[in-house]
Symmetry: D2
Subunit: 336 residues, 4 copies
């Protein structure tokens, strides 16, 4: 079964939210205290997703706020270089900095991150900087959950969602839950529910849906039963190496498998999943095939050093799908 | 035409939001600099509305946060004394204070207020302090806009609205716009729109609807055309002494007139209006009659010294309606 | 023994720090919950001291920041009316409010206060608003400890002290410790020590000196031994109804007794003490006599309703001293 | 002329203040946007100074606060590895991060930095974490100005200075002015004056002394005339490549010259200067010779990639002094 988009829109995906810098340990398989060199990449979930989609050939744009310094300019230059429209990227004039993520890769099973997220520019995107004229040009508005964690970025996203719905733009909500961004689980649940109820497609891990419902050990049946009372038509729930499920309001359910790969680190899996899954949907693949694209893309990224630079091409994805080596158990691939 | 409520609910109205202290100039018709004595009353829009409704005989409750001091205890004692259920009134344990409003009455035409709203307890109501078991017992959840101005009170209200809709409790949204509570007009518009779209009944002045729409000089036709695409079934737009309009989704429109009275001050008009209007609706009066109850109640309160203590009885309201002395022009009665 | 001042200075005392509003329970001998009316007075320790000194006939000035509203204007008008120079009173332009103190008088032994001190104007006095040309005109710069509790008022006071010392202006440090103003006892001790070491005269209760030393149950001998290593020449330590001690660097010690009076409340005792003590010193009385003026003035104020309005005249003070009814035990008169 | 220290103290220098991370562009002579790799070093003025002093053979300790993460542990491990006592290094338990400095080296003349200083651990050192027993063991307490920029670090330093003076520990104040750390020039001037007046030795650039005096284009004669009225006995004022001046309260003045070197970048010059200057003083060299050590050390560091790792040995310093190639004009070596 296919999922339909308005084909008259100029952009395939416009994402809103954070774009920041990853500083990946150059010397890995050791604790970060012993890493002396770091390589710089663009990072941040919605940025990674449009970078991935753009590399796959989609027409994309980005609404966000970047710092008025070398890091902010690097982000903008990189986005442009992969074909993303940056006309709605706002430069912060109040001294806020670009968020940073240092990665530590002790082993494929032991990865951790060290975040700098105090007063970062991306969370200062204001609702007055979100424009109806731009949003209405896109098939999809991609929202990632972290942008809801603080004002004024929160209001910017709520306004963007409101404008998308008014203009027949599909709202894709990638839950992208980062605990350190939020003040309380109650607050997270309030905003995750609010946006999920208004979204057309919701994508997240099982753990992230639990956060949205403010419960522990939730189950997929209850989740979809609740959300299908509201706007969502398609819900994707990911269970790491156990694969992922796509539920449609019309009743169909599909299961996708993870692909076997040599894991270097676990970062970036969720973002590469989303970029290829959305690519496939937009290109008219059926939902079952789109699940394969998502899984294959995730498997490729976890075998490489970065999250953004490593985003695969169509050929890489399709080759991996063709090999058809799915897995039933392996080191768990969580979002990190 | 009548507006229907679920008659099996235990409470008529549960309000959520701020309860604070008014300090009204005892010596008036002079600038506040020359006022040496102040009389203490309970204040705050949603508190005033349930105090008014309770005096009229409705069964009411209040969800809010009060300071752990003499002012907080005064509010609780007063609410209990007029019959409001205070089981969901939370005592703040972090040292936040009760909001204060000093009133200055230079003349009936020149009233102003001096607010103390820094770090006030009511804005610290947390979403974890809002309980489904309580909200679902009421015919109406009354939300006033100021409670949306700051976190965590904002999230508490968003959660309450979500729970009300889940449990067939009518959401009445009294816009109650106070500019000093908000950081920007964009932010206000985002949350006012979000809650208005989910509410069943929306009540406000024409100016307040303009704030919701983030425009100047809006008109009622556009306002109702937009909101009737969403949940609202009844919208009341007040135009001061020019009277008020009630619009129903089913198409009917009613106009209410203001009643002639000797104006002492302009405070409290909106709250007394809402309490009597809702009383009438709940008691099964038709909308046109409810408008008269609202106008009469407002006229009575502006002739007296306080906003809460002065809330009228049914007899007073019905006598004023019976006299039928409406006005076409007079000193403007704004919300203050 | 007398204490000498530079007689060529135009002002006797310039005080720096907070001026705010007291709202005193009009109906007393009851909990504040049952008080319905409050009377407004100017309050705040340094303001009370210059009001008291001014009424006694000294030439005084005040450096402080007041709110741009009716309360701020009331303070300025009142100060002018009692003869205080307000040329260096700055009007806050950032919306900060006047601090408030509601008083509760349950009985002479049970008095408490309810403070509004969030974001108050007096703590926003900036160092750029403190002018050398003004400070150097005074015999005394009176500093009260609370102004040190927050930036930028803290820096304004540190600058004022620096300028006073540079210009042969005696620095009188009234410890005036208010726990709710401070973040930690360590922080208080740091700034109290810093200013006390630079002051010429230090006045406080035994409890307040303990706060300065960050210890419990300190003793006067250790306190003066430490401080006399630095600038102070005269130290006054008050022990409530047990009287007060004045220690001089030159070695003399004097003891003052409290006077018998009918106590209404305990507020304002410390401020009236300081105003009359400083008055006597400036008028050339010896230290022993100055102690009597301080005690008598305190006894008079605790028998009356306000702290500022109630500041006594010379005649009242001298009559009480003449009656010579001192006390050895009675309801404790703490600073409140 | 020599400067005397208490020779019975166990430590030569205990520094207080910030220790953070420098991320130096590995590919230089280009804008940072084009730098893809960064090398990690310990940084921060007082940390650099004790690292330098420790490498020269002095017995040093450090009082500071580090983050509870990989960056904080790296700092502690590095300090230990060069022989610094870290027993008074406190681990932050409130989630504050290590400060970061990204360096950009476009050319020897064009260097800039990109700082992350929001909510950094070093500024959360509390006065309760400063211990008299430790400070009193040292000949020198080294204070750098940036630690005064925010509470509670500010109070920790003020307390440390108070304890040093009480225990005959020389207070060396390195002005180390970083504009982005401060809220206003008035505030800076207040605290710089306060500490400089209490210090025994004050070291800074001419620009930094202007900041202390809150003036533009100050001159050395006025600066020393003012400060010698207070505690300071030795004042070093640096004029970049024009050399530096040492003024003694006893009247002597000495001038030091900068040494010719191949400049890679300008970072770290001031810190290496201070470490070698203090080393020489402590080792009993006369002031004139100490100026040469400072200059030579600075010249060596600016020719290398890092500020801390690059700190020279005695042999390197003495060889450069022996070559005696001083300069009169060259690219300006500012503190950066």
């Amino acid at each position: 079964m296919k999922y339909e988009f308005n084909t008259e829109k100029e952009f395939d995906i416009i994402a809103i939210g954070r774009a920041c810098i990853d500083l990946n340990a150059k010397e890995y398989n050791r604790p970060m205290e012993e890493t002396m060199t770091f390589t710089k990449y663009v990072g941040g979930s919605p940025a990674n997703i449009v970078i991935g989609s753009s590399k796959l050939g989609l027409k994309t744009g980005f609404i966000g706020k970047i710092s008025d310094d070398q890091h902010g300019r690097f982000i903008e230059q990189y986005m442009k270089s992969v074909g993303i429209d940056t006309s709605n990227l706002v430069v912060d004039k109040d001294g806020h900095k670009t968020g940073l993520t240092f990665t530590e890769i002790k082993s494929p099973e032991e990865c951790s991150i060290l975040m700098y997220r105090e007063e970062v520019a991306d969370l200062y995107l204001a609702s007055s900087e979100v424009h109806e004229d731009y949003i209405k040009k896109s098939k999809i508005l991609l929202v990632s959950g972290t942008a809801l964690s603080k004002s004024p970025s929160r209001e910017a996203v709520l306004k963007a969602v409101n404008l998308a719905k008014k203009n027949e733009v599909k709202v894709i909500f990638e839950l992208d839950y980062r605990p350190y961004s939020w003040d309380s689980s109650d607050e997270t649940a309030v905003y995750y529910s609010l946006v999920a109820q208004q979204a057309d497609v919701v994508i997240g891990t099982r753990d992230e849906f639990d956060v949205m419902e403010n419960i522990e050990e939730g189950n997929n049946e209850m989740t979809i039963s609740h959300l299908f009372d509201y706007s969502p038509e398609l819900i994707v729930i990911k269970h790491g190496v156990d694969g992922s499920y796509a539920y449609m309001k019309s009743g169909e359910t599909y299961k996708g498998q993870a692909y076997r790969t040599k894991v270097l680190k676990t970062f970036g899996a969720g973002d590469s999943y989303a970029s290829a899954f959305l690519y496939a949907l937009i290109r008219g693949k059926d939902v079952e095939t789109a699940l394969k694209y998502g899984s294959a893309s995730a498997s490729i990224v976890v075998s490489k050093h970065s999250s953004s630079e490593a985003m695969p091409t169509i050929e890489e994805i399709e080759q991996l799908i063709a090999k058809n080596e799915t897995i039933s158990s392996s080191p768990e691939v969580n979002r990190l």
